[in-house]
């Protein structure tokens, strides 16, 4: 196996593992992730000095079990990742198809919308929306979904444009096929591999972005255990107990790395272009 294949396998294992963790979180946690115990604040992980065997990854500043919170945090990250990709994918692919397939004025409008979206400062607007509408998981998912579609749109548009001029599409027109048939049966299957790669990329970006928003205090509302929020809440204690930011940070890093590895492996496997 080459390095890339190893990385791809590793990525698949990570993503699959975190997904399982998210689905079966209630069965896996040793403690209630929301239960506070002010007598047991900032207990280090069990493998460190002063750790307690009961709290594998220690406790946070409110005495909540870190391991349990981490597992519940996986739910939020995965949910954000998947839901954002679905929302933004729907928007982006539809726009990209419209522009790429219809061309002409429709395409000009689509290009203009994409340019406008790119010009909007992503994090700031996301922050503003969440702050105005009030933070909840749904709001974060919708906000990210409404903001992160442009890569889907760009890739769909360019690939549809390339494919629609190919002779087999002309042959399908000449064969008397309908517009819908051509779009869904002749064009879509030939660009879907590019979209899968974009989806993994977007999932990683959405997860990182949610973490950043939560870190700034305007993402998922407490006491939900978002990994970004955990870092944010812990950062005041990091000088004395650095592990409090290491545990959620490393989790975030490993999950995103896994998604990226998986994306790269899919890219190789499906034969998508390098920079899709």
């Amino acid at each position: 196996m080459s390095i890339r294949q190893i990385a791809g396998t590793l990525g698949a294992i990570i993503v699959f593992g975190v997904a399982l963790m998210a689905i079966f979180a209630p069965l896996l946690v040793p403690h209630d992730p929301f239960a506070q115990d002010l007598n047991l604040r900032l207990v280090p992980p069990s493998f460190m000095d002063g750790g307690q065997p009961d709290h594998f990854l220690g406790t946070d500043q409110l005495g909540r079990d870190y391991f349990s919170r981490l597992i519940y945090g996986a739910r939020i990250s995965m949910l954000i990742g998947v839901a954002t990709v679905i929302t933004s994918g729907l928007i982006g692919i539809t726009l990209g198809m419209l522009g790429g397939f219809l061309g002409g004025r429709a395409d000009m409008v689509v290009m203009f919308i994409i340019t406008c979206r790119l010009s909007i400062p992503l994090i700031l607007v996301a922050l503003a929306v969440v702050s105005l509408v009030g933070s909840s998981l749904t709001v974060v998912v919708l906000t990210l979904g409404l903001l992160l579609w442009e890569r889907f749109a760009v890739v769909t548009r360019t690939t549809v444009m390339q494919v629609r001029t190919l002779d087999y599409v002309s042959a399908a027109w000449a064969a008397g096929c309908s517009r819908t048939h051509i779009l869904l049966r002749e064009i879509l299957p030939n660009i879907v591999h590019h979209l899968v790669v974009v989806a993994t990329l977007e999932m990683a970006i959405a997860i990182l972005l949610e973490a950043a928003l939560s870190f700034l205090g305007l993402g998922v509302p407490p006491p939900l255990p978002s990994w970004g929020l955990m870092i944010s809440e812990a950062k005041d204690y990091m000088f004395f107990s650095p592990w409090v930011i290491m545990v959620p940070g490393i989790s975030l890093f490993i999950l995103v790395l896994g998604i990226n590895f998986l994306g790269d492996a899919l890219r190789d496997f499906l034969g998508a272009t390098r920079d899709a």
């Binding site: 000009m108 002779d167 042959a171 399908a172 027109w173 000449a174 064969a175 008397g176 309908s178």
Partner: protein, 314 residues
């Protein structure tokens, strides 16, 4: 003989540079073409790249609407025809056997596509596809393969099978052999000739290779910058070319006959640009016999015997 395809003063103008605010460039790809193609024959269209021959093919196939003019296929206006009806009448074979087959579908699905578009059921498609594959010299079990498992020549046979599976009267071949090796080209030409005879097809054969056109076509139209500059039956055209451009094209045919050298085609170094068509006779900047008036007067089509020529000096 009745006309299979009747083209009446057809033009196709493309706009390039779809910027928001710039004036788009106009490319007159086809610029006032009138042709009548007899049923049951093989009609050749020749010319260099950018002369509009492929655009004309796409117009005939109904893939682009003409900017102006009418196209009648089998006596009916192409624009008024439904897509299914049109598909039953006229089918294409394209140049590049690699891009003309959907890489993600099986050969059965590719060849069966025109049948499926007519709403024909799956079992009948499978049997008709099998029969068609054998008719074009492929084994029926190829139906389960993907295009990537086939050679260029086999792919082109698949494309021909797809074109014939509905039993159309007319097949438009746009450079069907120019992407193939010589040995495979001969196989495909033989197949097309044979199918045409057996099925009574009308072939429209578009090519830049005059030797191939001479071999397969009964009638030839020579296109230059969107117009038909000479149209005659093959023997007349090849034995006594009238338009200086036809003459240059014929001079450029290099047959494998040693000792003949390379003739001087006398065309200079300028090159036709369909976005910038010269005034007067559009061939005059390259014409070896052009006179002063050729830059001013636009030649009208003239009949010389049975041939039709657009040249002031012919």
């Amino acid at each position: 003989m009745s006309a299979a395809i009747e083209i009446r003063d057809v033009a196709k103008i493309f706009r390039q540079g779809t910027g928001l605010f710039s004036a788009p460039r106009q490319v007159r790809a086809v610029d006032g073409v009138s042709l009548s193609m007899p049923a049951g024959g093989c009609f050749g269209i020749v010319g260099e790249s950018g002369c509009g021959k492929s655009t004309l093919a796409r117009l005939i196939l109904g893939l682009h609407p003409p900017t102006s003019g009418d196209i009648l296929v089998d006596g009916q206006a192409l624009g008024a025809m439904g897509r299914r009806e049109r598909a039953r009448l006229i089918q294409p074979v394209f140049q590049d056997p690699f891009s003309s087959l959907n890489p993600r579908r099986s050969i059965r699905d590719i060849v069966g596509l025109p049948l499926a578009a007519q709403g024909i059921g799956g079992r009948e498609i499978t049997s008709r596809v099998g029969a068609m594959l054998e008719r074009v010299g492929l084994r029926a079990e190829m139906a389960h393969r993907l295009p990537s498992q086939l050679s260029g020549g086999q792919r082109q046979r698949v494309a021909i099978a797809r074109a014939l599976v509905l039993g159309p009267r007319i097949v438009v071949c746009d450079e069907p052999t120019s992407a193939l090796d010589v040995s495979v080209q001969a196989q495909i030409l033989n197949l097309l000739n044979e199918l045409r005879r057996d099925l009574g097809l009308t072939l429209v054969f578009i090519s830049h290779n005059l030797a191939v056109v001479e071999h397969i076509c009964d009638e030839v139209a020579v296109m230059y910058l969107g117009r038909v500059v000479e149209h005659a039956d093959t023997d007349a055209l090849f034995h006594a070319p009238t338009h200086p451009y036809t003459r240059a094209l014929l001079d450029s045919v290099l047959t494998p006959e040693p000792g003949l050298g390379i003739p001087d085609v006398g065309l200079g170094d300028s090159y036709p640009d369909p976005a910038n068509i010269p005034p007067g006779c559009r061939f005059h900047p390259r014409c070896p016999i052009a006179e002063a008036r050729c830059a001013i007067e636009t030649p009208a089509p003239r009949m010389i015997g049975t041939r039709r020529v657009e040249c002031l000096l012919a």
